[in-house]
Structures are given as C-alpha cells and as structure tokens.
Symmetry: C2
C-alpha cells in the first residue's frame, strides 16, 4: 500500500473543512494510505513524519504542549530529510497551504524543488510579481520537481482553472475571458442594479452585506477591486501569450476602484461604512445611466487576449445578458470565449466563495495528484 | 523519454479532429513521446507497434494496400502481446474509441483487463445494461487494470463528468441534476418556445434544424429522447446511490418521446419530416399552455437523487429561469444541485456537440492520463 503524506499549513475555516474532507477521503482509500504529517496554525505546529497525526484528533494534538514545533519555513528541508522526497521511489508528499500569507507563498519554490507537491487556495503566489510565479514554474518543470495546483484560487470549487488549462492544453485559443469573480461584488451589484433601475442605496447594501459577513471586515478591501485583479492575474498566467503580461502581478491590472478617493485612507471598517452614504448620489448616477441604456451595472474582470487588456472594472451589461439575468446572490460567473466555442462562450457559474466549496477545490486538486 | 502508445478506433469527424489535436499535443511534449500505433475505420486498419504511424500521414498510411489488418476485436490481445502491457514497467497504452458502436464498447473490459486505458466519446458502454458497466468498473479497479475516461459522452468538451466526479469524490451530496443535454432539442425548443409564446410551427423548426445538419438524418432519433436518456444513465452511474438504479441502462429511464405514436414506425427521415406538420396543433397546444403560465418549454434530463427519479421529459420553466433566459442556439446547460452548493446550483453551459469540442473532451481525458 502506497503512502501519501499531507502537510497542512493553516487551519482556519477552509483548513478545518479541508481536514474534515480529508478524513472522509482517507477512510475510503483502498490501495493507499493518507498520512497527515504536519498541521500548523499561526501560533503552533505539530510535526510527525513517522506515525502521522490522527485525522480525527489533529485539533487536540495541535493544542498539546508537547507538540513538536516546526515552522513552515523549516518544513521544506524537514520533509526532504525525513521523507526522502528526492529519491525516485519517494512517496507522494503534498503541502496544502490554506493561509492567505505572502510569506508562506514565498516558500513554494523550495517545497517544489524538493519534490513536494503544493496545493493552495492562496492567491498570492500567482498574483504577485512575476519572479515568484516564474520560480514556481521553473521548479515544477525541473525533473523531480513537485507539482503546483491552485484550482480554488479562482471561483473556489468551480471548475474554472481546470477548464482554462484544458482549453489551452488541447490547443484551443482563448479570445476573451469575462466574469463576475468576486462573490461580494456579485452580491452587491445583483442587489443594487436590477433591470428596474431602482432599489436601496449603495451604502445601505454595502452595510447589509457587511452585516451578513459577505464582505471583509473593511468593505474597502472588496470595493477596491484588488481581489478581482488577483484572480485575473492568476488566469492570465495560464494563457501562453499573456504569461509575462503582468510583470507586477495584480498591480499591473487596470483596476477601477469603487473606494471613493477621499475614503482611501480610512483604515477603520466602521468609519468607512459610516462615511459611505455621502457618496450614494454618485453611485445613483451610475445606476440611472445604466437603466437609461436598458442595462445593469456589474463589477467584472475581463481578459481580452487579442487586445492584451486585463481589467477589473464596473461595466454595463444589457438586461438580457447572462450577467444580468442568471446571476443570483453572491454567485460567480465566468464566460470563456474561445476559437472552438465560437460565438457562444463556455460558461461556469455558482458559489465562488465559502469554506466548504473552497476546501472542495483544494481536495479535488489533491485527488488529481493521487 | 517515456513512450505513450495511442490506438485510435474510428476516424470520422471526431476521430480526425482528435488526431489533429494529438499531432499538436505530441509536438509540444518534451519528456515523453506519443506514438500512434493503430488507426482504423469501418473498412480498414493499420497497426504498427514498433515504429508507430506518422501523425501527419496516418490517412495515407491507412489508405495503403499494405496496411496490416488488425480488427478492433483482435486489438486487446495484440496490444498485450506486443506492448507488454501487463508488466509493471509497461508504457502507458491508450485506446481511443471514436465510434458509436455497441460492439466496440463491448471490447472495453478486455482492453482494461490487459492494462490498456480506454477513452471514448461513445455513450454505449455506460448507458446500456448494467453488466457491461460493471465489467468495466471491475476491470479498472483490479490492480494492473487500465483506466476508463468518458468526459465527452455528456456535453462534449464541457466539464460535466469531471465536475460530477469531483463533487462525489470530495464528499459532496448530489441532490438533483437538471439540464438541457441534447444540442438538437436545445436548438428546437429555444427557437420554438420563447417567452412571447409565438413563432414558427414545430414541424418547420424541425425541418430547418435538419437542413442545418443539427439533427440526425432521421429527426425521430433526436425527438425520441433516447440520447438524453443515455446521458442521464451515464451521469446516474457516477452517483453512488444510483449506481445500480437503471438495470437496463437508458431503457430504464422514464422517457417522454416527442415522436408522434403514429409515426413511430416511419423509417425514412424524409417521410417523417413530411408527416410531422399534421401534429403541429398538438405542439401548439403545449406552447400555449406554457405561455399561459408565463413559462417556456424545454426538453430536459432530470436526476432527482432523493426521489430516485431519472427522467427525460418535456417540462415547463418560468420565463426568468436560466433554461429560458441564458440558453441560446444548440447549447447545453446543466445544473448540479448539491448539499454544498445549497440553494443555488453549480451551472455549466456551452456547446455540447460538434467535432472540435468533442475531440477536445477526449484530448483532455488523454492529458489527464499522462
């Protein structure tokens, strides 16, 4: 029976759910044994490469005083030393990074160089500047290098990255990708801008979304468009002709921020929400302009391959467009316009955030590696 | 450099396009060599396990008199003998069946038992009676057995089967699957039944679809719902609790046939089309009934897991439902309602037929095996 070693960095909502799913998957494996060798949160860690950590008792084990401390940055060399990952008969060893840490992302090349596979919903590695991305690609294409999978960085469990990879790998040409890629901004504009052109004020919807937990603690972190720009960067780097198009990562994307300029430096979420109503008139004007054209407002990400344009922007869509008619709640939607799919795109739609569907995307990557 | 042997049965529209894509993919491989060892059409075959058949000259090679004849039914034993597929250091050997033949499908277990992988857009194997399906599952779960992949049997290149497999494998519970799974019936009802409730007669749309090449030569082969029932059978068998639910395959599905009873025995497509107008009034009544309820008609496939119901039927959908608003042309659409995705389903939409997207589905399966 072959052994698969799994090391988990980060056990917040997604990490916990991932470990739940891992326990279920592990119990259903007949010809391999899944062994949890490492678990860490921001304060503590437990490492046991010999016997593994019980999947049903990792929380208690992590909480124990005697937990053997190995920081994530020491993990690449420890895994290499203890699991012989550089030999040809090595077991599969997979690191799952469930954090959103730039620092953890910077460790990926050293894992991959040592033959350890990396799976992550952390957007940082493929959305920051080119050097980290290039280091990962180089390491994983070197013989003996580990593999890198990040399905859940865009659309959580939705098959978005795998679909784009399939299109490219089978020789299709991507013409344009267009989508509503932020669950938060999907919710806000699905509520704010309907074909009727009427409804509650922009600030009231933002407040409501925040109360429901749909936004970051500071809603400006959603409204600034950075999350959408990061996802666009990740997708762009999977398109051969755009691979090096965004040297500074998401900061190279053309971004329309919805944070009013005078609120840009307000660091408190509470204060931000309190000040937002004074900008309702501006948003009302945009809603009315769209209505006058028979359109609705949607915050979209667009990758126009031919024009080389990558933008996160507030755009107007006809009331009968899929982004207007079939989008609900905080769903994501993405349309792949390609040569093969011709005039009607391939569309994927559904919940693009949430712990269980994000963990599912991570788990489906893991199953691909088995 | 590792070698991957590919044997191709059937070189019609899909098979030709697959071989085109294979040539492109083969030329981009850096650490493996893709070798075409077999090509056959219904009359002829060429087999060359030693040197392979040139990917850019397979048509000429197949047309040559001296082509070495190996029938598909002899292929399992030939591949085993010549490629040592039963040893542990065997090369990957993949058979791609691009036919729609029941007879070729019946050979899959013998390929898989010999360690040969099978990839196919042929719906027959997983949509006929349980025994063939069970034989394939048993063979591929036996140590040393080949793998079986059939992404393009439902929705061609759309990520439908892989998505369902991911949902199931990661522990999600499928509650209901609902979709427009026939490109032909999608086109016919998208044209016939719009929210306005008005438009050309049913028979005229069928004739038009036939002229455009959207239907089978005998449109009854689309209107009888069998194709939808086959796709539902394939999907049902990927859902653990329904695996054995359709003992006779697609014939166990509850099917609403749109072929008028008195035309059931008309074997000529021309005669069928000529006789269809006398039934326009019946279809008009259905269209008007739907319109009166603010709905449109769609021919859908439904798998209700809880109720154990699998049906191919003409149903009515509200004018603001995704099946009414966002479906165009001959697109397929499928909605996965699952426990994790809650009240809003995961949706995949796009062209579900055509040689290039079908071949793409086959090719993406092949890339999964590499």
């Amino acid at each position: 029976m072959s052994v698969v070693n799994v090391a988990v960095i980060g056990v917040g909502l997604v990490g916990k759910e991932f470990l739940n799913q891992l326990a279920t998957v592990a119990s259903s494996q007949t010809n391999r044994s899944i062994r949890l060798v490492y678990v860490s949160n921001s304060k503590n860690s437990v490492y046991n490469a010999n016997d593994g950590i019980p999947l049903d008792r990792w929380e208690q084990t992590l909480a124990q005083e005697q937990a053997r401390k190995v920081s994530p940055s020491d993990l690449p060399s420890r895994l290499k030393a203890d699991l012989n990952v550089s030999t040809s008969a090595r077991p599969v060893t997979i690191v799952v990074d469930n954090t959103s840490s730039e620092q953890i992302a910077s460790l990926y090349p050293s894992f991959i160089q040592n033959g350890v596979d990396v799976i992550t919903p952390n957007k940082k590695a493929y959305s920051s500047n080119l050097s980290l991305y290039n280091d990962i690609v180089t390491a994983s294409s070197t013989p003996g290098g580990g593999r890198y999978l990040n399905e859940s960085t865009v659309g959580a469990g939705l098959p978005i990255i795998s679909t784009l990879k399939d299109l490219v790998a089978t020789g299709d040409e991507v013409v344009k990708i267009e989508g509503v890629l932020s669950g938060t901004l999907s919710y806000i504009f699905n509520e704010y801008s309907t074909p009727s052109g009427q409804g509650p004020s922009f600030s009231s919807i933002v407040s409501q979304a925040r109360e429901k937990g749909y936004t970051e603690p500071h809603p400006g972190d959603d409204l600034n468009g950075a999350d959408v720009a990061r996802k666009l960067t990740i997708l762009s780097r999977l398109i051969p002709s755009l691979r090096n198009h965004l040297p500074e990562g998401y900061q190279s994307v053309s971004i329309t921020s919805l944070v009013p300029a005078s609120l840009a430096s307000v660091s408190s979420g509470d204060e931000f929400v309190k000040a937002l109503p004074s900008f309702d008139a501006e948003f009302e004007q945009l809603r009315e302009d769209a209505k006058r054209e028979g359109k609705v407002l949607r915050y979209v990400g667009v990758i126009d391959v031919k024009e080389g344009v990558v933008k996160a922007a507030l755009d107007k869509y006809p009331a009968n467009h899929a982004f207007a008619t079939s989008l609900q709640g905080s769903d994501n939607i993405i349309a792949f316009h390609t040569k093969r799919y011709g005039s009607r795109p391939l569309i994927v739609q559904g919940a693009g955030a949430g712990a269980s569907v994000t963990a599912m995307g991570v788990m489906s990557d893991l199953l691909k590696l088995l």
